[in-house]
Amino acid sequence: MSARESLLEVDNLKVEFHTDDGVVYAVDGVSYSIRPGTTLGIVGESGSGKSVSALTTLGLTRGKRTRVSGRILFEGRDLLTLPDDELREIRGDDIAMIFQDPLSSLHPFYKVGYQLMEAVLMHRSVSKAAARDRAIDLLELVGIPDPHRRVDSYPHEFSGGMRQRAMIAMALANEPKLLIADEPTTALDVTVQAQILALLEDLQQRLGMAVIIITHDLGVVAEIADEIAVMYAGRIIEHASSERIFATPQHPYTWGLLKSIPRLDTPRSEDLVPISGRPPSLINRPSGCHFHPRCPYVRDGHKRVDPKLEPVPGEFGHEVACLLPAPLRKQIWQGLQAGRTPDELRRLVDDKPAPEAVAAAQPADEAGA
């Protein structure tokens, strides 16, 4: 994908926080790009660096103790080297962002309308009356009933779903080219989640903006993302079109995410499979493949070799950072889909005379997939 056709291009982004406890490698060499009007889902658990990479796009992680390297090209301009005031002009205008918890993300002491007007007035030289009219229009756009009255409400007088709608309205105030939604539905009830996602999808189609949705929940992006990047410990470990992520996922972590989503079409007898262990410390990261302490299919060599993000043979645009051989990965995924547990499938990996011979040997498949 060339820089010309992509709206945002993130290239080898690294973000380090220098804390008293040590250096936190929050984002470690992340690259992705997004074309106008498309949706990218960034998926990972808390502490995977997904939010930090987004906040860095807007310069919101800038600080004395933060080291950022790489490039973030937005319409050809590198946002990382842009002076603070020029970046400020882009924030809320060309690139807007919404956040996880709409209650804490709105100022409790100001009326919703005032906060919307401020978003307009920061970037457009219009009268206050015009900004207020715009605020009412925006509330109407995001489906808040009775916007003429609601414009004078305080955030605490809104329900959770309405607050997130108000946040979305604020983000859309200046018709951004790119909307970054950081866990937009996490703090909401399930029924409201669906409404907010539908609203985002509808607005994207109407306004033609690109959307980055950051979430820990693959189910959230399943419907609306064109592409999905899975992050773990500050890196993208799998990246593909949405269809491919769900049809032929390659990384054991992605399998874990998929298997831990409850689905209506799976047999009731089948248990959800949680990913064991906890997210790694980003100060003292595991050696080798960062996922190896939690990976059911780990081999000895994986503790020493750090996998690179590489194309999956035969799958255009699908990249994965995994040391397991591609045929074996396919076999394990088929086994998981057939309802086998990771413990059973572990034998496929183990069943070798010596770990060193693994790379050369063919997978012995006694059980049959």
Partner: protein, 320 residues
Amino acid sequence: MTTYIIRRLLWVIALLFGVSLVTFVIFYLLPSANPALLRAGHQPTAALIKAITHQLGLDKPWYVQYLDYMKALVLHFNFGYSYQYQTPVKTMIFSRLPATISLALGAAVIWLVSGIIVGTISAIRPRSRFDRSMMGAALVAISAPPYWLGLVSLFLFSTSVGRFPILPGAGSYVPLTQNPVHWFTGLIMPWLVLAASFAAIYARLLRGNLMEVMSEDYIRTARAKGVPERRVILRHGIRSAITPLVSAAGVDIGVLLGGVILVEQVFTIPGIGGLAYQSILNGDLPMIQGTVLLGAFFIVVMNLIVDIGYAFIDPRVRYS
């Protein structure tokens, strides 16, 4: 809201009754001096003391005295006569009140302005040289007792005894109505001495609050929508961080209006604090009652104002 205010006002009255009763009881249980003895001259005779005791009504049981006192107060707004000065307590207090109000409010303006400015700069540049030196100075200001600070500043800067005679010293208070310029210059040093520790406390309080607020989600939202940092701090940050200061300031000003005893003594300002102090030494019960009630009145009223003001500062607070 209206019923809330009415309910609170009734409580204010009940509280003031309670305060007056407690003052009365304390005076009888722990007498500071025998008022009759103090008034009987150098060679008091038993008969004279008895006569004075009777004249002051001190030979009646204390509850009868209390009822008499309250009857005069409630029916005629009469605080009685000072044993010491032979003048109505009300007149004495009202003549002393302007000096105390001048001192307390002037100091409040200084400590609020300086505390907010220092606290804000320290919060947005934590660990900077400014922050470190100001927080160090704040610690000194909090630790320094005002009477000591008052004496040191008199010794250093007063035109009478100072090493660097630049400001009028003790006894230079004149009422505002008499000469506004001298009123101002005469109060500069007392204001600064009184404001020092408060400014330090408020600066530290605001610094802590603002640092916490600046990491709130809604600050991130403001930045994300392109609000310039200056406006983020002033409109979004301080707006939230200052709320606890408002309640603290209300109570502190209320306490000071009740009499700034030490600073008034050091700078010989004829205020309520000095009056209260003298009346305790002289066993001047009506005057003690008057000054205590006045102090309690200011504290509860300022508390009430703060509580009601909160509903306007924080829209989430609604009284019912």
